[in-house]
């Protein structure tokens, strides 16, 4: 499973994300945020930590849309996770990483019967 395309931002499947070890997630060149169905951060990889200027320890266990990512707490992101049973979508977005408006691409991933959904962040 070491092919570059399989692990790329656009292609990596939800199943693969679920099986990757922490160090493998950390080596991905894009941000990976894994959320519980209640929106609590369970996965926060090294790339995302670096982009946001935070440490994983401080983010894991907190509510993502309330504490770290208020700007995603709207119909374009947070609401979609609530409303839709299955999502695999890439959207153009602007995040306030380290308070700088930063254009990014977001990939939202959610599947039925999977307790964790993902937001991938590519600068």
């Amino acid at each position: 499973m070491r092919g570059d395309t399989v692990l790329s931002f656009e292609a990596i499947p939800l199943d693969t994300l679920l099986t990757l070890e922490a160090d493998q997630l950390d080596s991905l060149p894009y941000g990976v945020v894994g959320l519980s169905t209640e929106g609590i951060v369970e996965i926060y990889n090294a790339t995302e930590a670096k982009l946001a200027g935070l440490q994983s320890d401080g983010v894991i266990g907190t509510h993502y849309f309330a504490v770290t990512a208020q700007c995603m707490n709207n119909f374009m992101v947070a609401q979609r996770f609530e409303d839709e049973a299955e999502i695999d979508a890439i959207i153009d977005y602007v995040l306030t990483l380290r308070m700088r408006p930063t254009p990014v691409r977001l990939r939202l991933l959610k599947a039925p019967r999977v307790d964790r959904h993902y937001i991938l962040v590519q600068r």
Binding site: T68, A69, Q70, P101
Partner: protein, 428 residues
């Protein structure tokens, strides 16, 4: 290993990420340097897209005055505005933001943004009660007391009423109390019947406005309608208390202007427009009358700004507002919706009549060029009209959307012209 400095830095970032108030740092040209998630969360819906990079561009649709406020603030540093209210959206579910801006240097500004929609609604009711109770504490001599029957018609008056208004008892008795309203553009009265309806529901209704004098003049007063206890079975009657407010000095007039006028053009502002328009729409529905909207947009305005600068653009907007206001009746409302877009509220006017008004406004703009600091600019605008007579069930937002649609037609057909909504029907 993370150093103390890194740990502190992270704590600061986390603090800013979680901050419930919006914080934005921007340049004199509006370019956003720093912005926290809460601010981005408030700005994105206004922009209608996630790409938010310039504060003035985002706010242009709902608070074009921010650019002027910042540019006209001469001191090297200080507070540009404090809690400035911004009404976002177009009629339905308007979010109200409070915006404070502090100038740090010539090219560095920090703004806070907060959603105060709920608070504004609460405050309005509280303020009404407060003014009234405060007024009870000083001089009660100038209070007129009238009795109203179940329909709101005057059936008894105290001598203080004739003293205050100059009307004789005979002139007052039997008349609906609302006949003595003398509203104007800046102080629209609630629709007929609302005071009684609210008093019935809440026990009281309080309002400030102009009241007629027998000599043809008017005076500013606070008016309380209170339900009177009656014996069981009898229809409710009301007591109307009118208190003349003598402090109608320059300060109050200035304050009223500030709260209802657009900073740059002197036209009505969005908040005043939406409030009055909704009130007029309900009144028109009750009276089976009409109500028309004309939306106008200055043609190629961006070109004026790009080629001659924002100062010339500002002169154009002021002149457009002045020429249009001159063509309108006192009861019409001419308001700036945002950027170079204006709207006219025409009570009692049908779609076809509105189109004639729009044509008059159009002609007043092309009649002669606008002098923008020595440069003669030929300015035209495109107009879109909508009205209740052709669409009686339309909401305010629906009327605005219909006028917008017509405006778009006028633009596409070559600008400098008037179009009406549902033209197919109108032409038939």
């Amino acid at each position: 290993m993370t150093t103390d400095l890194e740990t502190e830095n992270m704590a600061l970032l986390q603090f800013l990420y979680a901050c419930p108030a919006g914080l934005v740092e921007f340049s004199a040209a509006g370019a956003i340097g720093m912005v926290n998630p809460a601010a981005m969360g408030l700005l994105m819906p206004i922009a209608g897209k996630p790409f938010v990079i310039n504060m003035f561009d985002v706010m242009d649709t709902c608070a074009p005055e921010l650019r002027n406020l910042v540019q006209q603030f001469a001191p090297p540093q200080g507070t540009v505005c404090d809690g400035h209210r911004i009404v976002t959206g177009r009629g339905e579910r308007s979010t109200i933001l409070a915006c404070s801006i502090v100038k740090l240097t010539q090219d560095r500004y920090v703004a806070t943004l907060a959603d105060v929609t709920e608070q504004v609604a609460r405050e309005r009711r509280l303020k009404q009660a407060e003014t009234w109770f405060a007024s009870l504490l000083d001089g009660v001599d100038d209070v007129a007391v009238l009795s109203l029957d179940a329909n709101g018609c005057i059936d008894a008056v105290t001598p203080s009423t004739t003293r205050q208004t100059g009307f004789t008892e005979a002139e007052l008795l039997g008349k609906p109390f609302e006949w003595f309203d003398r509203s104007d553009r800046a102080s629209a009265m609630p629709p007929t019947g609302e005071a009684i309806a609210v008093a019935q529901r809440d026990g009281w209704y309080l309002h400030e406005g102009w009241h007629a004098l027998a000599n043809g003049g008017r005076y500013w007063c606070q008016r309380l309608v209170a339900v009177r206890e009656e014996s069981a079975g009898a229809a409710a009657r009301y007591t109307l208390v009118i208190r003349a407010v003598t402090r109608q000095g320059r300060d109050t007039a200035d304050l009223r202007r500030m709260l209802t006028r657009d900073h740059l053009t002197g036209a009505s502002n969005r908040a005043h427009f939406f409030e009055t328009a909704e009130r007029q729409r309900v009144r028109a529905l009750q009276d089976r009358g009409s109500l028309a909207l004309v939306v106008l947009d200055v043609d190629h305005f961006k070109r004026v700004n790009d080629e001659h600068g924002h100062a010339a653009g500002d002169v154009v907007l002021r002149e457009v507002a002045q020429r249009c206001e001159a063509e309108l009746r006192p009861e019409d409302i001419f308001a700036r919706l945002g950027g170079e877009e204006f709207v006219v509220l025409l009570p009692g006017i049908s779609l076809m009549e509105a189109s004639a008004v729009a044509e008059r406004l159009r002609a007043s703009l092309v009649r002669e060029p606008i002098d923008a600091g020595g440069i003669q600019l030929c300015i035209t605008a495109s107009f879109g009209c909508s009205a209740l007579d052709t669409d009686p069930t339309a909401s305010l937002a629906g009327l605005l959307a219909a006028a917008d649609g017509a405006l778009y037609k006028a633009k596409r057909a070559g600008r400098d012209r008037v179009a009406v909504s549902n033209a197919d029907q109108a032409a038939a």
